[in-house]
């Protein structure tokens, strides 16, 4: 179960607060997956008491609304990432970035499908640059018409600033440098980039982890 409690002393009226939270959640807590199971109890609450003073934010037209939205979304995303870093049995923190989609919803559906794939997650645990499983998950993302196999590219983006490792370009497999792939997969953090087209489009970012023996051990041990 995910629970979250956020509090601020900024002055924000209730309607504006709900609107700010809704948009922040979409790109934070609603963009993570550990095991693909949605709990009965997930709740995130945001409280604003206004004790800090100043003019109240009452809606999108208010001064400060846009800045508050950015601050809150970034903050919520950082909190959400902590949850992924503590995923049961997880050994890797994986960012999935889907780019050049027809719209944000498509990009997010593809990212979410990859993040939930047990075969992608076990490949990551096994430090295997298995782009075939990533591509497979991309292809069955439900309701996404904009995935075109011949335009799809997959790469690993190292977190140390070194160049991306291309695995698939325009639907054609690259000759993968397995040594370099292994080096990238040694790190705890990894970014998978799936480019759906060469045409500029929308992007979604999702956070997930790998799937290990320990996840099974923990949840095989659990009793209600």
């Amino acid at each position: 179960t995910l629970l979250g409690i956020l509090c601020t002393d900024a002055p924000i009226a209730p309607a504006a607060l709900q609107s700010l939270l809704n948009s922040a959640i979409d790109k934070s807590f609603n963009s993570i997956s550990i095991d693909g199971d949605t709990s009965t109890n997930d709740t995130v609450a945001l409280l604003a008491n206004g004790v800090g003073g100043g003019p109240q934010i009452t809606g999108p037209e208010s001064a400060g609304y846009a800045e508050m939205q950015t601050v809150l979304t970034d903050f919520a995303a950082d909190l959400a990432k902590l949850v992924v870093r503590d995923g049961e049995g997880a050994t890797k923190f994986v960012t999935i970035r889907v780019t050049n989609a027809a719209d944000y919803a498509d990009a997010k559906k593809v990212a979410s499908t990859i993040a939930r794939s047990p075969l992608v997650k076990t490949a990551l645990y096994g430090k295997d640059a298995n782009w075939g499983r990533i591509l497979c998950a991309t292809g069955y993302a439900e309701g996404v018409e904009s995935v075109v196999p011949t335009e799809t590219s997959v790469s690993f983006m190292p977190t140390d600033g070194s160049p991306e490792l291309k695995l698939l370009v325009g639907g054609e497999p690259e000759a993968v440098d397995e040594k370099r792939a292994a080096e990238i997969l040694e790190h705890e953090d990894l970014e998978i980039v799936v480019k759906l087209s060469e045409t500029k489009g929308e992007e979604a970012v999702y956070y997930t982890c790998d799937f290990s023996h320990e996840y099974v051990t923990i949840n095989g041990d659990y009793r209600t």
Partner: protein, 226 residues
């Protein structure tokens, strides 16, 4: 067998065990917290096996707050989900004073009795504000958002929880230690408490505001909230 048993992470009481060395960097040693908010925790022993660790968390504001929330879209929504949604909706997101959370039992799939239990947690928290005079009159609708996490399908040990809510109220504080203990008290199989705080400013104002956030979760995580 030895290696396997070392890996087992039993469903734990919050705070049980030490934070793994690799995760310690994610636990803050200090923070900048929003003015007017207080945090505390208390030991209830929601799970009978938890004899030591705090499993009740209380977050309170010195003045009534605006509140917003998002909830799971799972059709089997737990009692605190339905109760908290109703509280915020009926109050139009205004006049909220506190959030009370227990770990160890999710109060999910517990029927009408579970709903009454969640309401009772909120009412008991409200009563603490009324008794110390910071709330002038009893409201029809609770001013407290309620959350629970843990095992599904069991009723809360309500008497034990209600008994400890005043204890949590009496120990509210605004130090980093208070916030960290509160963040730890909502944990279940988490290996570390998840707490962040951050100062920020808004345009046309020199005021420094801040945000604090605590979260928990390690498994059954694929949120879809609205």
């Amino acid at each position: 067998v030895t290696a396997s048993s070392q890996q087992i992470r039993h469903y734990a009481a919050p705070g049980e065990g030490t934070v793994p060395a690799a995760k310690q960097k994610y636990v803050p040693t200090t923070g900048i917290y929003p003015k007017g908010f207080l945090a505390s925790s208390a030991h209830v022993g929601v799970k009978p096996s938890n004899t030591r660790f705090d499993d009740l968390c209380l977050i309170a504001s010195s003045v009534p707050c605006s509140a917003a929330a998002v909830f799971t879209k799972n059709k089997f929504q737990a009692a605190p989900v339905t109760v908290s949604r109703e509280i915020i909706k009926s109050r139009n997101g205004a006049g909220i004073r506190a959030v009370v959370v227990n770990s160890g039992c999710a109060n999910a799939v517990t029927g009408a009795g579970g709903v009454e239990d969640a309401k009772a947690m909120g009412k008991e928290t409200d009563r603490c504000f009324e008794e110390d005079g910071t709330e002038s009159q009893t409201q029809d609708q609770s001013q407290t958002v309620v959350m629970s996490t843990g095992v599904i399908g069991q009723r809360l040990p309500l008497k034990k929880i209600l008994h400890k809510i005043p204890t949590a109220y009496d120990t509210l504080g605004d130090t980093h230690a208070h916030w960290l203990r509160a963040a730890r008290a909502i944990c279940t199989t988490d290996t570390f408490p998840k707490l962040l705080s951050r100062p920020f400013t808004l345009p046309n104002s020199s005021t420094q505001y801040s945000l604090v956030g605590m979260t928990k979760g390690a498994g059954m995580i694929h949120p879809n909230m609205a």
